[in-house]
């Protein structure tokens, strides 16, 4: 982990109360990742693997009764976020770290105009007059590609399309030029053509403002378009990290390989889609050893008992897999 990392997460664990009294069930288990300034990291995984929880933990917004376990460390710009007093953390949210959500349809307050909501976001962190703040909102609207910003300023969310709403959300998140933007499935609720536009917008904004992006997605198409680096999560843990090129062309972990094989391809039309046998284990029911071993086609002896550690495959790629460890070792 480089010293210059903008965000460094180490050993992050998040737990929820289990079925029995006093029992805690982990949904995220010792996750480590880092993002350099200006970099786009895609966090990929199936639903329920803990990727959204990890992102909320960075904002310290894990919903109750969830809890970030002791021993977790989240450093942002060299500051330890987990020990930050609440008011300072609140000042950081929105100003230094922005966030956009999956559902643009419901992420805007229905009874406040779009412009007013973005203006609130600005006035929260910057001492601007109402007029100046309005001007800044119109600038932002233009910047995120909202046509006719002055009209849209006074529009209520129900008068805007999904794509426009997501642009308003992005304008809100980018209002204070944060150093880090957390985008939780920003395009999942949008249709394909709008998705491409929004991704391009995110890429351009990131490039022009130097904002790093933590992009949470389950879609390798999205990964391919915007990510610099990729981290793949399975059952609460990171199984493989690497640059986009490495992961998409030479995935080493059997889970990553399985995911990539199960993407529908036009040339394979009519054939049966490859799948990963079995189902994702529920939190609290993770198998011992490597959590993927019951579904892994290559599972062998140490897998069911011993937890694999990250093994470096190259400078930038690492996979937590016994098979990879043996291949690299030999």
């Amino acid at each position: 982990m480089s010293a210059a990392a903008l965000l460094a997460v180490e050993g992050l664990s998040i737990s929820f109360p289990g079925a029995a009294a006093g029992e805690r069930m982990r949904v995220v288990d010792r996750v480590s990742l880092s993002i350099a300034p200006g970099e786009t990291l895609a966090l990929v995984g199936e639903s329920g693997c803990g990727k959204s929880m990890s992102a909320l933990a960075v904002m310290r917004l894990v919903p109750k009764p969830g809890r970030i376990e002791a021993g977790s460390r989240i450093a942002f710009e060299g500051r330890d976020l987990l020990s930050l007093p609440v008011p300072e953390m609140r000042a950081l949210r929105g100003a230094r770290i922005g966030m956009i959500f999956q559902e643009p349809m419901t992420s805007l307050n229905p009874v406040v105009t779009a412009g007013e909501q973005v203006r609130e976001a600005i006035e929260l962190h910057a001492p601007l007059s109402r007029g100046d703040a309005r001007k800044r909102v119109l600038e932002l609207f233009a910047q995120v590609g909202i046509p006719d910003p002055a009209t849209r300023f006074d529009a209520y969310p129900h008068q805007l399309s999904g794509g426009l709403k997501q642009r308003v959300m992005i304008a809100m998140a980018m209002a204070m030029r944060p150093r880090l933007l957390i985008a939780d499935e920003p395009t999942t609720a949008l249709d394909a053509t709008i998705r491409a536009q929004i991704l391009e917008l995110l890429r351009n904004l990131s490039a022009s403002t130097g904002t790093a992006v933590l992009l949470i997605t389950h879609d390798f198409g999205v990964v391919n378009e915007v990510a610099d680096r990729v981290a793949v999560m399975y059952a609460g843990g990171i199984v493989e990290t690497g640059t986009r090129h490495e992961l998409l062309s030479r995935p080493r972990h059997p889970y990553t390989q399985g995911l990539l094989r199960s993407i529908p391809r036009p040339e394979a039309r009519g054939g049966r889609l490859a799948e990963i046998a079995g189902a994702v284990p529920r939190p609290g029911h993770w198998p011992p050893g490597c959590r993927f071993h019951p579904r892994c086609p290559h599972a062998f002896q140490p897998c069911p008992v011993e937890e694999p550690q990250p093994t470096g495959v190259s400078e930038t790629q690492a996979a937590s897999c016994h098979l990879v460890a043996r291949e690299v070792g030999s």
Binding site: M59, L61, R90, A91, L92, R93, G94, A95, G98, M99, F101, E103, T106, S107, L108, N109, P110, V111, V112, T113, E120, A121, L124, H125, T151, R152, D154, A155, Y156, H158, Q159, L160, S161, M169, M172, A173, I182
Partner: protein, 339 residues
């Protein structure tokens, strides 16, 4: 006492001007007000007339000694009083509408053919009494709502937003209140607080907030989990600001509708209190209560009951119609237009 009501009239007028300007400024409220006007013109006009009568009946002053006669000296008289001159515009007892002779006995009247709705047992003009009842009715509805809505919002929103112990406490209070027969509680409260406009309104308010509190709590529970509240948290908005800017505005349509509905319920419930002898002086409830004694007579004395009932019915119907239209109009989510 009459100075207070004069000041309230001034404050209400200032409030109306302020509200008018706010409505004119904001497109959302301007359009909705216009929509309400288009849909419920008659109901809005009816309520407007009632409000005007109540205001005319609230502006009072004492005549200077030189102008006053023995009957009016030292007493504040409202504009309505001055129009009707009830001290002299009266009969000895019952007279039928527009009658020339008294109902019992057939003596000639002091003001033959002038009492549009006749006179009551004490010879008071029924039109005058009906108009005097307007202010009482609006006071009950308005003042009590001023007690009910803040209490219900405070408890409901904090219970819904923070949950846990606060929620337990509020829910306990609501359950206890809901399990006591509200009429008995009302009577007990009025016995403790004493009779009087403010006392009766407070008693009605204290027993009446549970219903709206439950609605506010439920709606807050839903809003608390809304994506836009999560988004506000991610922007670093504090709890207080989230409640003020995101929860309360989303409850506004409920507040308006609840206000209208509580209003009518309260005006009606005052009738029952009058029936039990703890109503407000000069209310329609008292008129109806007095009229009750006359219904068994032949020929029947109907105009007393008719005056109060029609006035009550028209007000309640108009407010209910407005509430119904507001429900559709105020909620922006029911609008379907794309920009």
């Amino acid at each position: 006492m009459h100075q207070v009501s004069n000041i309230v009239v001034v404050l209400l007028a200032l409030g109306a001007v302020w509200l008018w300007r706010r409505v004119a400024q904001d497109r959302f409220w301007r359009e909705n007000t216009l929509a309400l006007w288009r849909r419920r013109r008659l109901a809005v006009l009816t309520v407007g007339v009632y409000v005007a009568i109540a205001l005319l009946d609230s502006i009072a002053w004492i005549d200077p000694a030189s102008e006053a006669n023995a009957l009016t000296s030292g007493k504040p008289r409202t504009i309505i009083d001055r129009i009707f001159q009830p001290e002299t515009f009266r009969e000895a007892s019952y007279s039928a509408p527009l009658a020339r002779v008294s109902f019992y006995g057939g003596q000639p009247l002091a003001h033959p053919g002038k009492h549009l709705l006749g006179t009551d047992l004490l010879g008071r003009d029924v039109v005058y009494r009906t108009l005097k009842g307007v202010r009482v009715a609006l006071l009950i509805g308005g003042l009590t709502s001023l007690v009910v809505i803040p209490i219900a919002l405070l408890f409901g929103v904090s219970a819904g937003y923070w949950g846990g112990r606060i929620d337990d406490g509020v829910f306990f209070a609501m359950t206890v209140l809901a399990s006591v027969p509200s009429l008995l509680l009302l009577i007990a409260l009025i016995m403790v607080l004493g009779k009087g406009t403010v006392q009766v309104c407070v008693a009605l308010g204290v027993t009446g907030w549970v219903h709206f509190c439950r609605i506010a709590r439920g709606e807050t529970l839903k809003l608390r989990e809304a994506d836009f509240v999560a988004a506000a948290r991610a922007l670093g908005v504090s709890d207080g600001a989230i409640i003020r800017r995101h929860i309360l505005p989303n409850l506004a349509h409920l507040v308006i509708i609840t206000f209208a509905l509580t209003f009518t319920a309260l005006v009606l419930s005052e009738t029952i209190l009058s029936y039990l002898g703890i109503g407000l002086d000069g209310s329609w409830g008292q008129m109806i209560d007095q009229a009750r004694n006359e219904l068994s007579r032949t020929p029947i004395v109907w105009w007393n009951l008719a005056g109060a009932s029609v006035a009550l019915f028209a007000l309640v119907l108009a407010v209910n119609l407005i509430a119904d239209a507001l429900r559709d109009i105020v909620d922006p989510r029911t609008h379907r237009e794309e920009l």
